[in-house]
């Protein structure tokens, strides 16, 4: 079972139904104990970084996520879920993140329209299973005002160009994060979710 973490932020049903469409069992869970039996953990998110992190902590998810990753469960952060995986964010003040990966979230430069809304391409930097059947330069649907600046080059799996080249897919071992919405990115997004669900 794929557990989708509900911490009061964002449209979770669209993530759930994308997994269901692919034939996987997925469940929206709002308490860490409900995710105990899960094989995979997904952290979606559409909210401001600070509010999201506060809600995660209050519900006991911060510790539960760390434990689940230590136990080897594949993890996927989506949109703000990716940003929360990093050390900190500069969105509306400075906020500490989960610190699964090292880096900070910054606002896009003023030369671009913010938020970035729409379909942009990824440039694949590392050959990992998550990219099976996902060609380089594929388009995904993005909506965000902040991007992650990863400290470790090794944690950057793919980049996207929007005023600057930034990390749009991050990962290390069985921990992944995508800045775009795979559940809103038609066939190619579903392929990526399928690849994640196939990791064990």
């Amino acid at each position: 079972m794929i557990a989708i973490i509900d911490y009061g932020m964002g449209n979770l049903r669209s993530v759930e139904k994308a997994f269901e469409f692919l034939g996987f069992e997925a469940r929206i869970v709002d308490r860490p104990d409900q995710a105990e039996a899960a094989t995979h953990l997904v952290l979606p998110g559409d909210a401001a970084f600070g509010d999201a992190m506060r809600n995660l902590r209050q519900a006991g998810w911060e510790e539960a996520i760390h434990q689940s990753i230590e136990r080897g469960k594949p993890f996927l952060g989506i949109c703000v879920g990716l940003q929360l995986m990093f050390s900190a964010s500069e969105e509306l003040g400075t906020h500490q993140g989960l610190g699964l990966l090292s880096g900070r979230c910054r606002r896009f430069p003023a030369t671009e329209r913010v938020p970035q809304i729409g379909w942009n391409q990824i440039s694949i930097k590392q050959d990992v299973d998550l990219f099976d059947g996902v060609p380089d330069e594929s388009f995904f649907y993005f909506v965000h005002s902040y991007y992650v600046a990863a400290d470790e080059t090794n944690d950057c799996l793919a980049t996207t160009d929007y005023g600057l080249e930034y990390t749009s897919i991050a990962g290390r071992q069985h921990v992944f994060g995508v800045q775009f919405h795979p559940e809103k990115s038609q066939d190619i997004g579903l392929q990526l979710l399928k690849n994640f669900a196939a990791i064990n």
């Binding site: 329209r113 729409g118 649907y141």
Partner: protein, 257 residues
């Protein structure tokens, strides 16, 4: 590169898709689910459902459509029309829409924008405006006025000042619908799109007046819009979405094929 978006808009009335001509005449243009499925296959970048009945019954019908469509189609869905309260916004998002387009309600109760953006994030709150050109003496800057209630009621509000306020209150995107151009198929109001794009940071979606691929090209380049919304040219099969995207790509516009 970020692609320019092509967005078919389905005006839904009593569960059928209708085409609007200058906000009035209705003509049946098909089953919305059939159309949505077709646009998904053709790789539309997003879909907009606009509920023009805007009654409680109408809302239920649109939400039912969104639910059915979103089980099968994995592109962003926006719902607009008849939103009055914060609770309407919440229900629409909960029902499976990715964005809510707020128009007249923002004029009546501007706080609805702040409250919705704060609760759900700016990314899902779209500020939609219906504007009519003002008569200005020759040589003066063009001006537009905000209309509400489906383009029927003048407000006296200057459109450029109003879009500034919408952005400041937290909308993540703006849809500019020209009443002058709507349904004419004579082309988008390029000056309007350019004037707004020059003063706000958020993406602009052009609406009203599309009659050809050339019009879409114009508004995405000269008009500086990030996306083009169109209805009848797609609904009646004058153009397919791939046809428009091929045309744009040949002219150097980045699109997702």
């Amino acid at each position: 590169m970020l692609a320019k978006r092509i967005i078919p808009c389905l005006d839904v009335k009593n569960g059928r898709n209708v085409r609007g001509v200058k906000f009035s005449a209705d003509k049946d243009a098909g089953d919305p689910i059939e159309l949505a499925t077709r646009y998904d296959r053709e790789r539309a970048d997003e879909l907009v459902f606009y509920d023009i009945t805007a009654s409680a019954d109408g809302r239920a019908i649109v939400m039912d459509l969104v639910q059915q469509v979103s089980e099968q189609i994995f592109i962003p869905l926006t719902v607009g029309g008849g939103i009055r309260t914060f609770d309407d916004v919440r229900q629409i998002l909960k029902g499976g829409a990715d964005k809510v387009s707020i128009n007249s309600a923002a004029v009546h109760t501007p706080e609805i924008i702040n409250q919705s953006a704060k609760s759900f994030g700016s990314q899902c709150i779209v500020g939609a405006v219906d504007v009519l050109r003002r008569q200005v003496p020759a040589g003066e800057q063009p001006a537009w006025e905000i209309y509400i209630n489906g383009g029927r009621k003048a407000t006296g509000i200057d459109a450029l000042a109003w879009v500034d306020e919408l952005v400041q209150r937290g909308v993540g995107e703006l849809v500019l619908n020209s009443i002058d151009a709507d349904g004419t198929r004579d082309g988008y109001d390029l000056e309007l799109n350019r004037a707004v794009a020059d003063r706000v940071e958020v993406p602009i979606v052009a609406s009203g007046g599309c009659g050809s691929d050339e019009h879409i090209y114009q508004v995405l380049t000269e008009g500086r819009a990030s996306a083009a919304l169109a209805a009848s040219i797609f609904h009646y099969g004058d153009y397919s979405i791939p046809q428009v995207k091929d045309y744009l790509e040949k002219k150097g516009v980045v699109v997702r094929q």
